[in-house]
């Protein structure tokens, strides 16, 4: 089991002694991973390090082979993904998944909490307050002009924002954001960093990223995963000077330029 520094055991999200083994391959082997309420934690690491698997385990898409997942006061290790998301865990996937045939507004509307049963969806519509909430969010994420357009027509960056907006309107308090900066223009990247930083405090976020500039903008604590283990943890400067991290990223015997 790997070593980890810092973090109190009173964290909002706690992963304890988590292993995830697929067909003999150990994707995750984490002694402890904890995030405080209202915090933004960035998770970085080389490909195949287990970052997405970490999110899978938290959101319930994958059951860990051993260990415990605690969110707030609930031990959610054996919960179904639907129940975990009902708890307030929202996830933005690596490849943005929104509903292409529906308009931006309709996408948001579906993300509103409540009315999850089939019969509840036959009658009635959203309240005025909810409509305003959606419009406000859309304005905040620069999507308001595309309000009545099908989501199919959005650019890649706009789809990312839509997905994040949907998470926000759903009232999720723990957001798992997988590579929000992928495929964005510089301008869009800056806006996204702003957006995510704004969400801190009211929401707890875990952001997986590769783009170091983006990570720098987020100005938050960073955890480095490698081969399923936590390699290092701390500020971006701290981890980027950690020799173990350098070796993992750059290979042995190379000097940092």
């Amino acid at each position: 089991m790997s070593d980890i520094t810092g973090g109190t055991r009173a964290d909002f999200l706690q992963l304890t002694e988590i292993t995830a083994v697929f067909d003999g391959f150990k994707a995750l082997d984490v002694n402890y991973f904890g995030v405080d309420r209202g915090d933004l934690r960035v998770v970085i690491g080389p490909n195949g390090a287990g970052k997405t698997t970490l999110c899978d385990v938290i959101s319930g898409k994958t059951k860990p082979t051993s260990g415990r997942v605690v969110i707030g006061e609930h031990d959610v290790t054996t919960w179904r993904d639907a129940d975990i998301s009902a708890l307030g865990v929202g996830r933005k996937f690596q490849t943005p998944s929104v509903f292409d045939s529906l308009t931006v507004y309709e996408n948001m509307e579906l993300a509103l909490p409540g009315r999850r049963r089939v019969w509840q969806n036959l009658f009635g519509s959203e309240t005025a307050a909810q409509r305003e909430q959606i419009d406000a969010l859309l304005t905040r994420t620069h999507l308001i002009e595309r309000r009545n357009h099908p989501a199919l027509d959005l650019s890649h960056g706009q789809r990312q924002w839509l997905e994040i907006s949907m998470l926000m309107v759903s009232g999720a308090t723990l957001l798992l954001v997988d590579e929000p900066a992928a495929g964005l223009t510089d301008h869009e990247t800056a806006l996204t960093a702003e957006l995510l930083s704004e969400l801190k405090g009211d929401h707890t976020l875990i952001v997986i990223e590769h783009d170091m500039e983006f990570v720098r903008r987020l100005n938050s604590r960073v955890t480095v995963l490698c081969e399923g283990r936590v390699l290092s943890d701390g500020t971006l400067d701290h981890v980027s000077q950690d020799p173990k991290v350098m070796e993992a990223y750059l290979g042995r015997g190379k000097e940092r330029t």
């Binding site: 929104v98 009315r115 009545n148």
Partner: protein
Amino acid sequence: MSDMPSGMRYATVPPLLRLYRGGWRGAALWTDQALPGLALFALLLGVPMALALGWCDEAFVSKLGRFCCFAIMAIGLDLVWGYTGILSLCQAMFFTIGGYAVGMYIAMQGPLLGNGIPEALYVVSSEIGGMTLPAFWQPFGHLGFALLMVVLLPGLLAFIFGYFAFRSRIRGVYFSIITQALTIAMWLLFCRNDLQLCGTNGITPLKTFAGFDLTDPVVKIALYEVSALALVGTVLLALWLTGTRFGRLLLAVRDSEMRLRFAGYQPVWIKTAVFTLGAVLAGIAGALYTPQNGNINPADMIAVKSILVVVWVAVGGRSTVFGAVLGALGINLLYSYLTSVMPSTWPFVLGGIFVGVVLFMPTGVIGMWRRLIAKAQTVKAVP
């Protein structure tokens, strides 16, 4: 005012109410929804007028009535496949089950032999003396029970089968093949004489329904009107349904079931609900079909019949409701015409249409039409 969305790939059917909103989309809707509306109106009133004027005969009207039943079944499939993305290849099975429910009722009214046994059952059985009416036939003597069964039998079957299939996350082609296997198994069972469902002959002859003589031309026209009304009703139901939040959930299931699950919904119930609805619609269609067809037999649910429904919807245009009606009526009318003029070419025409539509016209006729409208509007809007 919003700028122009690309109508090319916009597959959601706007509810009829938006017809009045105006703007460029209003114009497009005028042609692509009002026109079908007029067509349905023609079905209801125009056809009987044509009959009265002598422009067509009652055989044609009866045929059209049966085609309306097909259209109802097609709308069911459009909801299940066009909107939700579930390729169900067993709609004809639900259709036939509904048809049998009504058929059994009619047989119980019709010519009876011996101890109240319908002639239909007798024809197949080799034992003459000492034969009694099977217990499960008896309740079908009551109209209310039979009508209830029309809805309940296909509905329950679909509900149970669908729920378990969707729960185990069987989807895509696996689901389609399993539905084909199901319909084949059902066909095999219905063909068996010892199950006392009249075997391969099916339920025939069918003489009277609730006191009405089925061979009477007036009754036939009345049945046609009922079918056409049912079709209009189904269209309205489908349009309403697809305009609700539930309708949007169907599209969401098709687009990204995973996202929907992570948004806290349970796609199992959504899929089961729409699959059951499709089955019930098919059952009702079968029930209206049987008195007009004069018989119902297991051949109405052979494997290919369910695939034909898919052809209708694919050609007409998926996820458009009107596409299902257009495809069902259009292809069946074409079939009726070609088989009387050039019978041997029909299989090739059908196969060719199908392959052609799938390869080159995936959005169907109505989809192409909407694309043309959108293009025209784009050209018009450029200053």
